[in-house]
Symmetry: C2
């Protein structure tokens, strides 16, 4: 039987590691014939826009693996029933018995639907979901490939921005990706070098965001340090669960029906205006870290790259060994040393649902993370640079 | 005689290299006594908020050199005449004969004023300006320390964002720092890997920006490639020289009287709205690269770090050898190999004035750079990662 693989959803800097892991592993198994790559995920399956991945050279594949973005192209699309029927027709015609889909929970759902319809149609296809998301919001897995590298980018960005904000003190707000889950925003804390290092305040979607509380929090930090660095999830919500961003920007919806929160500076700019109005005389700036978080060339967590590669390879190995399908999940072994094993989880446990930051990672005030978060996330992002500070002895003139 | 050094203006990731270069060089010259560091530039000189840099250990200084931001703190301040008199009083009391100021053209002006008033007051101080700016807009120097690393960040950001935009095709606008000079925006082109790599359009302050032309340019690229990545300077202006951003955001002015263009997503969001309105049905997103361009930890051009260190060291060496003062400038030797020597330029040639992208770096259409720009800028940013692409043979299914 032949196999097909696609990439779906927002790309990451290691999503091609999973692709290349799968491609190289497929070559080791006689039970897998040709491996087709679908261009732009299910879109390519629908239009038979395919590449033959069996022919790519190993050195070329290794360069692809180290390259950000989805080398096959990606897509945000949940196929309709009619489209699924069309896809199944092509899968049958190409004698495809294995379907590998690299993506998040929406992609897991698409994979599950295709697998179910194929079984119903009497042409069973073993469907494997290879997890990928910078949001880290998939269930049943300790963490998601893609998160560690994005978290590394966010940590490095906040380390530098805190130093910038020390140099020219003021209030700085950085808006971080994360629609429902605050993992990536929480990662802004991982590079704190000193007790007075930012971010000094961290707001995530898991805790209701109140403007009055926000203003008071910032005023408190400025009173203490003369400056304040704030990390805010793009998906922060009020007490009733309404996104704060929704009120301040024209809402557009992506193809899955989600509100578009990225690709706009509106939330950061609105929070800046609030602070300038309520706390007069402050220098306030906002940046929205944006797509760089998932695409910046050269900032990769080595452990994330390795795990992404393994997840892709294992999906194929399990398929070749006759597994019926499922989602690859990462299991953290207990013990002082970071160690991961992999398991196969039923697709329906991963599709549609999302995971949030657990309570024990959030402080009581709802404006910072706890040491338990650092213990969880620190091994995922790789070593951070050590920062240097001038020791400042008082001088005769000082 | 003792010496004093300060950092001024927007920090960079290599401004501490210049500081440490100066500190270590000062220790080699008996003619220089104590070296004071002024906290937050002239602000620290005014308030006698100083640190004794003679006492910092070499390993601690090396860690500082590799750390982004201004280790002494920075400031945006042009001292008044009364404040200059106060500063001179302190310089006299501390027996200071050398004044080193790391910064841009505003900082060169401050240094020049202090030097002039000191001479008039009969207490001559040798004043040295050590160039620093990510904008690369200083006159009399081939380029500025700080530019190469910021340009490297911008090039890496666009490399990744182009791959992201290939994965999920659409129109993406990235707003790059640069108030009057488009050097940093032009650097977005340095990582183009293929003929169809973005940015596909580049708009800089040196060429008038017209909305109609912009819309037509984007429509043309989308028609050709199905996607478009755009680099826009924050300082783009209309035909009459009015900043485009000014019309779309509430204007605030910084301490030098400049319009605040950074720290807001408004320009990118406004251009997004224009495209969504005029070119219906397009997926359009905007990011403003923001302060990460000058502060991101770990993205440093090696040649930039080395030159920043040398510029600081040479200012001190020339001072110790009796030079009257000036601004350190970098001179590029002609020939096929990149080679820089350093010279001392009169301060008044650098203060107040700025430099723009020369005409030969801009294409006739005013929406891209020329190969001459790449020849100029490529040696400044260090080697870029090689990207990999899937070769895509047509398949039987394709």
């Amino acid at each position: 039987m032949n196999a097909i693989i696609g990439q779906s959803g927002g790309p990451t800097v290691v999503i091609n590691q999973s692709l290349v892991g799968a491609v190289l592993e497929a070559r080791r198994h006689g039970s897998i014939g040709r491996l087709y790559g679908a261009r732009h995920g299910v879109e390519g399956m629908l239009r038979r826009d395919l590449v033959d991945l069996s022919r790519q050279s190993r050195p070329a594949l290794e360069r692809v693996a180290a390259t950000p973005g989805a080398a096959l192209g990606s897509v945000r699309k949940k196929p309709s029933e009619a489209e699924c029927a069309e896809i199944l027709k092509h899968l049958r015609a190409l004698d495809i018995g294995y379907f590998f889909y690299i993506g998040g929970n929406d992609s897991a759902e698409t994979a599950e639907i295709v697998g179910r319809l194929a079984a119903q149609a009497g042409h069973p296809v073993a469907v494997f979901h290879i997890p990928k998301t910078i949001d880290n919001d998939l269930r049943e897995t300790d963490h998601c490939p893609g998160f560690g590298s994005a978290a590394r980018f966010v940590a490095l960005a906040f380390m530098g921005d805190d130093l910038d904000n020390r140099s020219l003190p003021g209030v700085k707000i950085n808006v971080v990706m994360g629609r429902h889950a605050g993992f990536l925003t929480a990662a802004s804390t991982l590079g704190r070098a000193r007790a007075d290092s930012g971010p000094h305040l961290v707001y995530v979607p898991e805790r209701p965001f109140g403007i009055d509380r926000f203003v008071a929090d910032v005023a408190g930090v400025v009173g203490r340090l003369g400056r304040c660095l704030v990390a805010v999830s793009e998906g922060i919500q009020d007490e009733r669960g309404n996104p704060i961003a929704q009120a301040v920007m024209e809402t557009a919806r992506d193809a899955f029906g989600n509100v578009q929160l990225s690709g706009s500076g509106a939330l950061g700019d609105a929070l800046t205006q609030v602070l300038k109005t309520r706390l007069k005389g402050l220098r306030v700036r906002a940046d929205t870290l944006g797509y760089l978080q998932r695409s910046f060339t050269g900032v990769v967590s080595p452990v994330d790259a390795r795990e992404a590669r393994q997840a892709g390879a294992l999906a194929v190995r399990w398929a070749a060994r006759g597994a019926a399908g499922g989602s690859v999940s990462l299991v953290r072994e207990s013990g002082p040393r970071y160690r991961i094993t992999f398991a196969l989880t039923p697709l329906e446990k991963v599709a549609r649902v999302t995971r949030s930051l657990p309570q024990e990672f959030l402080n009581a005030e709802g404006n910072d993370v706890t040491p338990a978060f650092a213990a969880y996330a620190r091994p995922l992002i790789g070593p951070l640079p050590k920062l240097g500070f001038l020791e400042a002895p008082a001088t005769p003139g000082g």
